[in-house]
Symmetry: C2
């Protein structure tokens, strides 16, 4: 459903905005030699066109829609015309009236943009094969290797991404020079080469510590994660176990101490960055949509490199609770930041305006820095790629969604499976074999970490399956059926007590979905800031959400004059909240859908009646 | 003591840094017509010179130190030489090779700098009278009135400050044109005139809502507070009750919902701004030193305009817990941000380097944006001005510090008082009359809001005095003594439950001092993130701090495989922290002194053993 609205609405929506703002026409200015006039858009706006092109390439590969191909080819012609003779391609630097090439590696984003160009070409190469876009990318990559190779300019880009683009292009074109250049960029980082940007330090662009030595992700979240994704690719393709270990170690520490319940990453608005260990404020959670996408990219690469189920678990958590939260139902408005607590319902925004980062709990059609919409577009267009993996005659189902999967086996032939499910809103997943080779095949099904009590029924009967992999091995006849049942009853999830910002609170999850309370669902006289969750009675399932018993307390009354300076009160024991608390059943809805029924205050973590400060129950 | 180290060290320290960085020489470049070369410093660096000049003027007025006067006069000569013929004075705009005047009102800070020039002149006028600096300021103010008057350019400055400078200069020079121009700027703001800065909206510079209509302070904290201070001046001098009411209303709401226990204001690093109501994270508290200074300026003006004790209470809280926290003991290193929670001990910084904002729990000698050191310098040099007020024959003592006060009475003569006290470390304040007129005088002593059980002893005996004003009226003979005793036993202070970020926590205060726990004082095997305060046994006084009984818990062990995704655990009841908690007596020290014994982790709010999530006591 999200892929449909992405294809129908989001791709066109992005193109319209970028046309309107003049970002696409920047390529024509270069090809026409008209670069003297002020150039609209940030220096990195080229990358938005490339991300849209990547989305169009995946979409055409997925659906075969002719318009996607036509739009893509038209864009390819325009960018190809803007490419310089030596392969350099950028609309912001290096032409008449512009700063010379590579004079602002810290903030200029030239190599970053090139990285996205290469990823667009990879999507094309993987879906239709070598074409004009691939040729443009190859020339751009060759230029980068000449310019920044081991004996060339010892520079690196303030925003990692070229590493990922080179590694992916190197893999698909079987061109080890590109992989090697990616490795050179990766090793070059972490030695304080980049000049610090005002008010920020070298950790902002991960130039503080070499990646082999770093313990955890830090600084700007998207930068850290793109770097990790590119590094995982290089490590896998070069068999560099030490490098892969480094990324795995950083993943583990970051997930344990710097990751939100939603899978969101990035606790700080200031530098769009990770905070320190345990710094996970729900209200000021940045959790940029792009960081969620980048986290999925990293986990996917680590899963492919190691086969460990924990990576697929985090992908699911992040896809359903960060990536899916960003677009509105029709794919024409987006969250940029994805906080877990919205104190006050946001003011409506103008749908025809470019918005600032839209921190205020309302999805916006376009942003001043508009990286998220096109990033979402390419991710949703390629989403089917994350559903399953094949190795030899082993087929692994990682994510569950209705549809038909055709999986080519290394030993020849294909396994075709029809999946019937309402997942994640229901835990029943039916897998029907449509086509199978006439030999033994190994089928593995991911049982998510939360799915205690799951069962798998097949011709051998029903059996319990533990979190991890449920396995079925045999010669499958067409028409044979496997029924996986994942329990999706609501459950309480308690934060580690070192996460100060949600002390005394609990969240409710259901299957892979994090739930939340929205003010729009509260009794009229209630305020979300006074609500307490009664954990003595467990929340029960309701629709695709839950219903929980809550109380509403009144704040402690002002003390006798002078007993403290408001809002702080001095007394030997904590002030008790006033009045008999009211009790009601209150709905909890999937977080990804919040603010879709209108502007609302929202909380994922709710103070508990028993354990909150001054709980009165 | 702080005034001494300010005079001995800070003033010279600031001058040395500004000489070294070329900020003072910018004036010479203008006077010598050498402005084509790139200009060092931010556009607002002129204001740092002016704040230092203000500090020097107050210091010379306070101590009569000749060197302060000499340095000031030398600076006056250099800035006077840079003033244009029409009174315009700025080293960043309007000269050869620079952008024209007033072409970037949003970010250029021209009027802001002028405002600080006027304040420096006010300090001079109030201490030595009219001199060359006052003349320079008068010409600059006349220029501003001509340029931006009711019939002139309808602009305003992105950073309020000119309002304050004009109002103060208007008052001291008895020049209503300046007050009127301040009023014009104030009324002009709030109508979306300024172009938004990228990623920020109009509330950043309070251009979103007219000040008469605003409910609360919002946006950049220093801007909001300078604007409020200037507005309070204009309201008082023009008798505008509605305008004064607006500032009082905004003060009350901000103090109740957007102010830290320390008096600190500004919850966000991103825009150095206020957050929403109840958004008061201790770890990411910005609480800029300059915002603390500005808050004192606002409260002082509101106290003078209304006589209400609550304003003097907040001034004390902020002076002792924000302003006093900034400088190191010798006044050569400063906090810029003043968080209430430092998770990890900061890395040492290079004392010879310009630093970024120094968020990391270590005082720095100078900053990239270095507004705080000079702001602190001028505030400490003028601090004695906040100690007392006189109206008719009523003398009010607002703050308590050892020294001799000479208070000229409106009815003629003076009251000279010698104050002997170790306040705030001890609550005994002895007030000895050294000189008094031979008629009835009314003496009022502030009894702080926390001082329940205070007593006042004079010739009439000892009596209890409630928070507010303790009063003594009579004809005082030289040698007569009043003994005020303020109880400074440690007390627990509980946050309003709507402050989510410190739910389940409590702070300890002692007199006007907020206390904190530093990791340097913990048993070696303890970590500050695992400490719980045992509130069953109240903290007891120790030195100028306290000792509290604390426990150290161990985080819950990892659940059985799959019982949650770390760091979140799924279970019907909250996971219990593991192991028998260790118990120890742990020191608490005054917050203003934290990180003076070396780098340390620190907490003001401590989770309670009884009420914290998973407390095991």
């Amino acid at each position: 459903r999200m892929q449909r609205s992405n294809a129908r609405n989001t791709l066109r929506h992005c193109l319209d905005w970028m046309d309107r703002l003049g970002w696409t026409a920047n390529f024509d200015r270069v090809s026409q030699g008209a670069t003297e006039a002020p150039r609209p858009g940030w220096p990195f706006s080229d990358s938005e066109i490339y991300k849209l092109m990547e989305a169009l390439a995946w979409e055409y590969g997925r659906s075969g829609e002719a318009w996607a191909n036509a739009v893509l080819e038209s864009l390819v012609d325009r960018i190809a015309a803007a490419q310089d003779g030596d392969g350099y391609l950028n609309t912001c630097f290096g032409h008449a009236g512009q700063h010379p090439r590579y004079t602002d590696l810290e903030s200029g984003h030239e190599l970053y943009c090139t990285g996205h160009l290469l990823q667009a070409a990879v999507a094309r190469a993987r879906t239709v094969g070598h074409d004009k876009l691939v040729e443009v990318a190859r020339r751009a990559a060759d230029h980068v290797c000449r310019e920044f190779g081991p004996t060339g300019r010892a520079g690196l880009c303030g925003h990692p991404q070229i590493e990922l683009g080179l590694a992916e292009l190197g893999r698909v074109l079987e061109e080890p020079r590109y992989t090697e250049q990616a490795r050179v960029f990766i090793e070059r980082r972490g030695h304080g080469t980049l000049r610090p940007i005002a008010l920020l330090d070298a950790s902002y662009f991960q130039d503080d510590v070499p990646i082999r030595e770093a313990a955890v992700w830090r600084g700007h979240a998207v930068r850290a994660l793109y770097l990790a994704a590119g590094t995982a690719d290089v490590a896998a393709d070069t068999g560099d176990v030490g490098l892969l270990d480094a990324v795995q170690r950083q993943w583990a520490r970051t997930v344990e101490r710097r990751t939100y319940l939603t899978g969101g990453m990035g606790s700080r608005h200031q530098d769009e960055g990770f905070g320190e260990d345990w710094e996970l404020p729900p209200d000021r959670a940045y959790c940029e949509t792009c960081a969620g996408i980048a986290s999925v990219m990293v986990s996917w690469r680590l899963y492919l490199a190691t086969g460990e189920v924990r990576y697929a678990d985090l992908m699911e958590r992040t896809l359903y609770n960060v990536v899916a939260a960003s677009p509105d139902a029709d794919g024409r408005a987006f969250f940029y930041a994805n906080p877990l607590h919205q104190r006050t319902a946001a003011a409506d925004i103008r749908p025809d305006r470019v918005n600032p980062r839209a921190e205020g709990g309302v999805r916006a059609p376009w942003f001043d820095v508009s990286c998220c919409p096109t990033n979402l577009a390419r991710t949703l267009a390629a989403w089917q790629g994350y559903v399953a993996s094949v190795e030899g005659d082993t087929v692994t189902l990682l994510q569950y969604a209705a549809g038909e999967l055709r999986l080519a086996l290394d030993g020849g032939g294909a396994l075709v499976l029809r999946i019937t499910t309402e997942y994640p809103h229901d835990g029943a997943v039916r897998i029907e074999v449509v086509e199978a080779p006439d030999r033994e095949v190994h089928l593995r099904l991911r049982v998510p970490h939360w799915a205690h009590g799951a069962t798998l029924a097949d011709r051998g009967g029903e059996r319990g399956v533990a979190p991890g992999w449920a396995q079925a091995r045999g010669t499958f006849a067409p028409g044979s059926v496997l029924d996986l049942r994942l329990p999706v009853e609501p459950r309480l999830s308690w934060p580690d007590p070192r996460i100060d910002a949600v002390r005394g609170c609990v969240a409710v999850e259901r299957g892979p979905l994090v739930l939340c309370a929205e003010s729009i669902d509260l009794p009229e006289s209630w305020s979300l800031e006074d609500v307490r969750l009664d954990t003595a009675r467990p929340p029960r399932a309701d629709g695709d959400g839950a219903v929980a018993r809550m109380t509403s307390v009144r704040p402690p009354p002002p003390g006798p004059d002078g007993s403290g300076y408001p809002p702080y009160r001095s007394s030997a024991t904590p002030p008790r909240e006033a009045g008999a608390p009211a009790r009601r059943e209150v709905p909890l809805v999937p977080y990804y859908r919040w603010a879709r029924r209108g502007s609302s205050a929202m909380r994922v973590f709710l103070p508990t009646a028993q354990h909150g400060s001054g709980g009165d129950d």
